[in-house]
Amino acid sequence: MTIASPAVVSASKLGLTFQTNDGPVQALSNVDLTIGKGEFVSFIGPSGCGKTTLLRVIADLEKPTSGTISVNGMTPEQARQSRAYGYVFQAAALYPWRTIERNVALPLEIMGLSKAEQAARIKRTLDLVNLSGFEQKYPWQLSGGMQQRASIARALAFDADLLLMDEPFGALDEIVRDHLNEQLLELWERTNKTICFVTHSIPEAVYLSTRIIVMSPRPGRVSDVIESTLPKQRPLDIRETPEFLAIAARVRDGLRAGHSYED
């Protein structure tokens, strides 16, 4: 593949083996990966294929046991310490004792930003995810989709160039998910961030990504990389076009190929 812009994430021969009571489990094996600036990369695969683990390695939430990885040209630990990325978990993980506004403020307080700067960023990011007017609500007063939007706002408020998202819409219903997918694309276009997105939904991966990384389990590895030929402007009904369906079919084939040795 040809990537002109400098690599945001670059991994080579990356491996991670968990030591469990039932013996070692190879979560990642021989992963080579380069993600350029401004890309929207999806990781897709069945559960146990190591897609979340890979994201957690990039975020320095797990340590690789072999190979090398760099984030923004640094080790993941240095990247984390320089607050290079925002992370969105599968669950919104909002702190229940904080209002939406205070939840978004949490990373800003930790960074030690001034009150004025905090207020400005809170306003900007809540606008971005269409949550203006809900500043004073507590998480339980919001629907699941709104909670997840608040957690995206929190990751955006961080204002890092890299956004790591671990199945952020996995727990939401189809209608809300479509809506949030649309908003996420719009947001990506406006902010020009690099996004790493873990999902197990083929349409979601194809709709969002510039590149789809298909992974397969036991051991977790990259089994296929698919460049999307879709234009940057993607209305929801692009999912009905032959081009979209062709990419989806390729992803499905890739997933099946990764699984074939089991059948």
Binding site: A59, D60, L61, R80, Q81, R83, Y85, G86, Y87, F89, A91, A93, Y95, P96, W97, R98, T99, L106, P107, E109, I110, M111, Y138, P139, W140, F158
Partner: protein, 292 residues
Amino acid sequence: MDSFRDKIVPVTSILAGVVVVWYIMAVILNAPFQRDLDRRAGETPDIVEFICKTMSQPKPTLPAPHQVAVNFFENTFLRSVTSNRSLVYNAWVTLSSTLLGFAFGTALGIVIAVGIVHVATLDRSLMPWIIASQTIPILAVAPMIIVVLAAIGITGLIPKALISTYLSFFPVAVGMVKGLRSPELTHLDLMHTYNASPSQTFWKLRVPASVPFLFTSMKVAVAASLVGAIVGELPTGAVAGIGAKLLAGAYYSQTIDIWSALVAGSVVAALLVMVVGIAGRIVDRAMGGRPA
């Protein structure tokens, strides 16, 4: 009023049941002595008269509820609160050392919990001792605390309060250890991705997450504090306090006094637990708690 139907009615039904059983037991337990009295006086009362007599002895084995109620009412509302026979006065004496000991105990429990959660060595070394401390009968320890402290010149409120502390730090320590460890993994991971310092993680995550645990354990601790304060009054020859009233009642076989002191103790305990509960609910609401 739903709270009336849901709470008051069930509680009152149980209370009514207890009162009925109490009356029956009073008659049964006081009957032998009453028969003895009647035989010596050469009286042969009929059954109704006999039952009435068993419930109006001056020093009954088990006083009837109304005897306790009358005694409680007289000593609470009709006596000047400065009189040493007033239950209000005696309850206040016990309450003051309860509150002091509870404050010490809560503070000590929190400090121990913070230590245990943050220092692995303390977790392994301190926890067994804390548990062992609660297996020692407080009645055995209390006189020693009082005597030792008196020897170094500390008397009065502090020794009694320390016995309350001894009983009340434990639930707070255990509850707070649980509370400070209660944050979910993703909440902790989030702090990690922000590169938050340990103190930021402590103040912004662990402390708020532990607040509900704190109030639950404080409810247990405040009741334990009261027990500690009463026990602390027994071996000290205290002249005032609910414990002192219990002891004096036992010396002079004033069973009715003992029972009304017990009632006073229960009322104080109920009020304390209620106050802590209300404080907990106010804090919960202020922290965005979902109304139940």
